[in-house]
C-alpha cells in the first residue's frame, strides 16, 4: 500500500494529466458540455421525487419539502458512486494500448476515472447548494461532517474501482455484471427512500456500506442531526478494507496485465 502511494506521488503529474484528459474528452464535441454533469443527477433526483410522490399517495401523508431535499442530497453522491464504478471498471481495458506498450503505474487509470467523476460531483453539488438554498434547508454545524462522509465515499469508490478495473481486464464478464448490479442497486440502497422506513429490516439495508453514507448526507444536510456514528464508522472500516484489499489484488495481478488484456 505504501509503495503504491509512493509511486503515485512520484507520478502525480501523470495522474493529473490522465484525469484532465478524461474530463476534457468527455465533454469535447458535445453541445451541452458540463451541463451533463448536472443533468445525470437531476434525472435521478426527478425519478426519486416521482417515487416519493407515489409513496405519499399510498401512505396518505403529504410530501414535505424536506423529503424532496433528502432525495436530492442522496441522489447526487449516488450518481457519483455509480458513474465512477462504471467508468473505473472499464478504465484499464479502455487504455489497453498504454497498458501493453508503455511502462507506467497502472493504478492511475481507475483513480483518474474516479477523479474525473469527482469533478462532475463537484459541479452537481454546486447546483445542489443553490437548489437547497432556494428550498431554505438552512445551515448548521453538523455540515462539518460532510468532508468526512465524502472522504469515506471517495475511498470506498476508489477501492472498488481499482479492484473491478483489474478483474475486468481478465474477465470481460465483470463489465456486464457491474452493469446489472448498479442498475438494480438503487432498489437496495436508500436513495429514493430512507432506511428507517423499513423498521427492523433497516439493519440489513445499512450493511451496504454506501447506505450509512447516504443516510449521513441526508441527516447532516437536511435534518441537521449528527449521522449515526457506529454506521458511519462501519462504512469507513469497509472502505479502508476494500481499498487495502483492492490494492493488494491489483499489485498481484499487475504483472499479468500486458499479456492478458
Amino acid at each position: 500500500m505504501s509503495r503504491a502511494i509512493q509511486t503515485l506521488l512520484a507520478r502525480r503529474d501523470l495522474l493529473y494529466m490522465i484525469t484532465w484528459r478524461e474530463i476534457r474528452i468527455k465533454y469535447k464535441q458535445s453541445v451541452m458540455g458540463m451541463l451533463w454533469a448536472v443533468l445525470m443527477p437531476a434525472v435521478i433526483v426527478s425519478a426519486g421525487v416521482v417515487v416519493r410522490i407515489g409513496f405519499s399517495m399510498v401512505s396518505g401523508r403529504s410530501l414535505a419539502v424536506a423529503d424532496v431535499a433528502s432525495v436530492a442530497v442522496r441522489a447526487v453522491p449516488w450518481a457519483f458512486f455509480v458513474s465512477s464504478i462504471r467508468f473505473a471498471t472499464m478504465s484499464l481495458v479502455a487504455n489497453s494500448t498504454l497498458v501493453t506498450k508503455v511502462s507506467l503505474p497502472r493504478e492511475v487509470f481507475p483513480i483518474a476515472a474516479m477523479l474525473s467523476q469527482l469533478m462532475d460531483f463537484a459541479v452537481a453539488s454546486l447546483v445542489l447548494v443553490v437548489v437547497l438554498a432556494v428550498m431554505q434547508v438552512g445551515l448548521s454545524w453538523e455540515l462539518l461532517w460532510l468532508p468526512w462522509l465524502i472522504l469515506i465515499l471517495v475511498v470506498l469508490t476508489t477501492g472498488l474501482g481499482i479492484l473491478l478495473s483489474a478483474v475486468s481486464l481478465f474477465f470481460r464478464d465483470v463489465k456486464y455484471l457491474v452493469e446489472v448490479i448498479i442498475t438494480f442497486a438503487i432498489f437496495f440502497t436508500p436513495v429514493f427512500y430512507e432506511a428507517r422506513m423499513f423498521d427492523r429490516w433497516a439493519t440489513i439495508l445499512m450493511l451496504n456500506p454506501v447506505a450509512p453514507l447516504l443516510e449521513g448526507f441526508a441527516d447532516v444536510v437536511v435534518r441537521h442531526t449528527q449521522p449515526s456514528l457506529p454506521w458511519v464508522g462501519y462504512s469507513a472500516v469497509c472502505a479502508l478494507a476494500v481499498l487495502a484489499g483492492a490494492v493488494a489484488v491489483f499489485r498481484r495481478l499487475e504483472p499479468y496485465f500486458a499479456e492478458s488484456v
Binding site: 503529474d13 494529466m17 494500448t97 511502462s103
Partner: protein, 415 residues
C-alpha cells in the same frame, strides 16, 4: 551504483498461444493456483504455451550502445518489454539502473481529440516527464517536430507522418539514462530522420546507455560496438557487432534438401568458392555465385536466374543463363545441376541479398525460387552513397572567382 546499467540473468519468458481460459472448468482451478502462488512449475510448458525467451543472460555497461538483432519472432520485442518493465520474466531477473525511456510506440499516449499542444503534455507525462520539465522543453519539442502551425489542431486531423513526428519529438526530449530504440529511423521524411539521428548521437554523447533494436544492420553496425544475436528466443552470439552480423547473415543459409513431395529444388546458393561462407566483400571485387539444383522428376527448358536486391528488397541487378547465352537447360530425375555466375561487385557499401529462381525457358514462369538464399555485405568506400558503384573521381573543382557584374551589385547592396 555499479557500472552496469542493464542486466538480464537467466531470463525465461513464456507466452500462451490461445486465450487464457476456455471454460469455467479451467478457470476455477487456475485462479486458485494463481492466488496461492503455486501454479505449474515455471520451467514446464503446457501444450498451449511456448518460450519467447530462453536462458537469456547479458549485461550492458553504462554509456554503451548495444545492438539486438534477429529475425521476426526471435524475441527482440519481448526483451524490450521486459527491460521497460511492461511485463515480468517467467524466470530469472531483470535489473535496470537508471531512468529508462523506450522509443517504442511513441504515439501510444496520444488522444485523437486533443490538440497537438495538449498531447505534448499528455504524452510527455505518460513517458515519465513532469509538467514542469515539459514546460521547460516545450519550445524545443515543438521546434523539433516542425509543427508550429498545427499546435492547436486536434491530432486526429494530422497526417500519419505528422502524428509520428510529434510522438517522436516528445520522446526524444525525455533525457533518459537508458534509451531503448526500436526501428525508429523509419519515421518521417529524410530530413526528420537526420534530425533523429543527430538527437540520438546527442543522447549517446550525454553518457546514456542505448539499446538499439533493428533489422537495419547497417544502422546497428554504425551505432553499436557490441551486439546480441537472438534466434527463437535463445542467444546465438554476443560480441563485436561485425562478428554478430556475420553470424546473422550466414545463419540459415545452409544447404536445403530435396524433400519428399517436391519435384525440383534449389539446394544450395554459395558465394565465392563452393561451400565458402564468406559474407564480406570489397567493392569491385570479383564474386562467384554458385546455384545448385536437384530434381526428382525430369525438367526441361529451364534457365537459372539470380537477382540481387538491396536491404529494402529493391532489385539492384538480375541476370540469367538464358540471357548469358546458355540456351535451355534440362535436368533428369535424381540429377544435380550446378551453375556458377561471375560478377564484378560494382556496388556501394551496404547489405545485399541473392534471390535464385528456376524459370521455364520460354514463358519465364518460375518452377522454383529461393528468396534471400544468400546475403553478403559490401565494405564501405566513403566516397559514395547509394547502390551503384560508379567509380567516381574528381576531375575539376575550381576556387570561386568573382563575376564582375554581380560583384558590383553586391557592393552596391552593402552600402
Amino acid at each position: 551504483m555499479s557500472d552496469i546499467s542493464l542486466r538480464l540473468d537467466g531470463v525465461y519468458k513464456k507466452f500462451r498461444k490461445g486465450e487464457l481460459y476456455d471454460s469455467l472448468r479451467d478457470l476455477v482451478p487456475a485462479l486458485g493456483k494463481r492466488f496461492l502462488r503455486r501454479g505449474p512449475a515455471a520451467d514446464t510448458l503446457s501444450a498451449r504455451e511456448f518460450w519467447a525467451l530462453q536462458d537469456v543472460t547479458f549485461d550492458v555497461r553504462r554509456g554503451e550502445a548495444f545492438g539486438v538483432i534477429g529475425s521476426n519472432g526471435a524475441g527482440k520485442s519481448t526483451i524490450l518489454k521486459l527491460l521497460s518493465g511492461i511485463m515480468p520474466p517467467t524466470r530469472g531477473t531483470v535489473q535496470v539502473h537508471g531512468r529508462l525511456s523506450a522509443l517504442i510506440e511513441v504515439s501510444a499516449g496520444f488522444h485523437p481529440d486533443l490538440t497537438g499542444r495538449e498531447n505534448i503534455y499528455l504524452n510527455g507525462t505518460i513517458l515519465g516527464m513532469t509538467r514542469a520539465e515539459i514546460r521547460r522543453r516545450f519550445d524545443a519539442i515543438v521546434a523539433f517536430s516542425g509543427l508550429e502551425d498545427f499546435l492547436d489542431t486536434p491530432v486526429k486531423r494530422y497526417s500519419s507522418g505528422m502524428f509520428a513526428r510529434l510522438g517522436f519529438s516528445v520522446a526524444v526530449h525525455v533525457e533518459p539514462e537508458i534509451l531503448i530504440v526500436d526501428e525508429v529511423l523509419s519515421v518521417g521524411d529524410y530530413l526528420f530522420q537526420q534530425k533523429c539521428l543527430e538527437r540520438m548521437n546527442e543522447i549517446m554523447a550525454s553518457d546514456a546507455t542505448v539499446i538499439f533494436v533493428s533489422h537495419n544492420l547497417r544502422a546497428v553496425a554504425g551505432l553499436c560496438a557490441r551486439s546480441l544475436l537472438l534466434d527463437h528466443g535463445r542467444i546465438v552470439q554476443i560480441g563485436a557487432t561485425n562478428e554478430v552480423i556475420k553470424a546473422y547473415l550466414t545463419r540459415g543459409h545452409h544447404a536445403r534438401t530435396l524433400e519428399p513431395g517436391t519435384d525440383i529444388r534449389i539446394t544450395q546458393v554459395s558465394l565465392g568458392p563452393a561451400g565458402s561462407s564468406r559474407v564480406k566483400f570489397e567493392a569491385e571485387e570479383q564474386l562467384d555465385i554458385t546455384v545448385e539444383a536437384a530434381a526428382r522428376i525430369p525438367h526441361e527448358d529451364m534457365s537459372v536466374v539470380i537477382q540481387i536486391v538491396d536491404d529494402n528488397q529493391y532489385p539492384v541487378f538480375d541476370t540469367c543463363t538464358q540471357r548469358l547465352g546458355a540456351g535451355p537447360l534440362s535436368i533428369g530425375a535424381g540429377e544435380t545441376l550446378t551453375c556458377t555466375f561471375r560478377l564484378q561487385l560494382r556496388l556501394a557499401e551496404g547489405t545485399y541479398h541473392v534471390n535464385a529462381y528456376l524459370h521455364r525457358y520460354v514463358t519465364n514462369r518460375a518452377y522454383e525460387r529461393w528468396l534471400s538464399a544468400a546475403t553478403f555485405f559490401v565494405a564501405g568506400t566513403p566516397t559514395m552513397r547509394g547502390v551503384a558503384h560508379l567509380a567516381p573521381s574528381l576531375v575539376r573543382c575550381d576556387k570561386p572567382t568573382p563575376v564582375a557584374a554581380l560583384a558590383a551589385v553586391a557592393s552596391a547592396n552593402s552600402i
